[in-house]
Subunit: 232 residues, 2 copies
């Protein structure tokens, strides 16, 4: 059984990616990071989802990104709300975390090498996404090329592949794919700025994209939003 | 004054690299890692050297490489001794740490982006080195290319450079260069397997390369070796 390492945050995209890797017959090794994110609730959910989908193992690493700073997700800068609604903003938002996917993929690569796994899965998406540079296909290709020069296994002729099954899908298509694989989206967490009980704000980029995805997929949105529950 | 981020372990190579960056007029931001290395003594020395050479700031990050394993430097595998003496061994040794420079450079890149620094210095060397794949020029070039696709700054047209002033130098040339810049090599630590007082084993790859370097440079070796001090 071929092994794969899956970057797995407990969000909608990475959960669907994990389900796809599993459906493709890989033995799945999931890796998550506590990096000082406001939405560390996602890690609590990640543990539960990993158990439900069934992974060989799941490591959660504590990494010191708050000491580096530079992002609304790890610092004191406010998370922007209702931003995608206002205009088609093409700039990189303040929720961008400098070099985050490079750091995540670097750890995934290290772990993969020790496991003799040569497939790394990452749920990046270049359509319904927040505009982060490290989600684009050209970045992923450059990382993959570098990875094969960086490692003992690469030099010895093994070939690391960075697999991005969601990269050309809309959020609606991702949800539809996940539904066919039995993903329980109630467990997944996307919001950048949840309350202390893990309920979604409903207005950050990530919430807006998620809402739009469920709407366009014609699937009832199972997310627990703060405002819905206040209304109840 | 242009800023630079310097990967700085407190070893001979990275200390010389720091001195070179300083001599080139950069405002120096040094970054070190505690990653569970046997030779964490290097970090104690790094702090002292950074103060002596004069850096703008110095961060020391704790990163979870022992949870990944796969190396004699972070695990229970023994560090090989007198290996370079025995033969011209072309294989990657067990002291290789999977994806280490990729992880280190990824953090350096993240920090550089938050600092508006576009020069990253790393003291890799492709001549008198242990045979690690992530010390070779082709790896460095691939990382640099990837870094400019990975980041907001890169996308906005800033250009990150990964500078490797030592890459084509012998260990002797590195030492001679450092001497002209006033580096105090007594403070630098290279040994992979020191005793609890930080004294060098004298027989690991790193000690052998260092000894050879001082001998060929015609410079007295200031290293505190375990065996010398036992003889006294």
């Amino acid at each position: 059984m071929k092994k794969a390492v899956i970057l797995f945050s407990g969000g909608l995209d990475s959960t669907t990616t994990l389900a796809i890797a599993k459906a493709q017959g890989f033995q799945c090794h999931a890796i998550s990071f506590r990096y000082g994110q406001r939405h560390h609730h996602e890690i609590t959910m990640a543990r539960e989802i990993a158990g439900q989908i069934g992974v060989k193992n799941h490591i959660i690493l504590d990494i010191p990104l708050t000491e580096i700073g530079g992002s609304a997700l790890t610092g004191k800068i406010a998370v922007p709300k209702n931003r995608l609604k206002q205009k088609q903003d093409q700039t990189v938002p303040v929720t961008y975390v400098p070099a985050r996917n490079t750091i995540f993929l670097a750890y995934a690569l290290a772990w993969a090498e020790t496991l003799n796994a040569f497939d790394l899965f990452i749920g990046v998406n270049a359509l319904d996404y927040s505009g982060y540079p490290d989600c684009r296909p050209e970045y992923i290709e450059a990382f993959e090329y570098m990875a094969n020069l960086a490692t003992k296994a690469g030099v010895e002729g093994k070939n690391f592949s960075v697999r991005t099954p969601l990269i050309h899908m809309t959020k609606a298509q991702i949800i539809q794919k996940g539904m066919t694989l039995g993903v329980d989206y109630r467990l997944t967490h996307s919001c950048y700025d949840p309350d202390e009980r893990g309920r979604a704000c409903g207005h950050c980029d990530s919430c807006l994209l998620r809402k739009k995805g469920f709407r366009e997929a014609g699937v009832p949105d199972p997310t627990r939003y703060i405002e819905d529950q206040q209304a109840v």
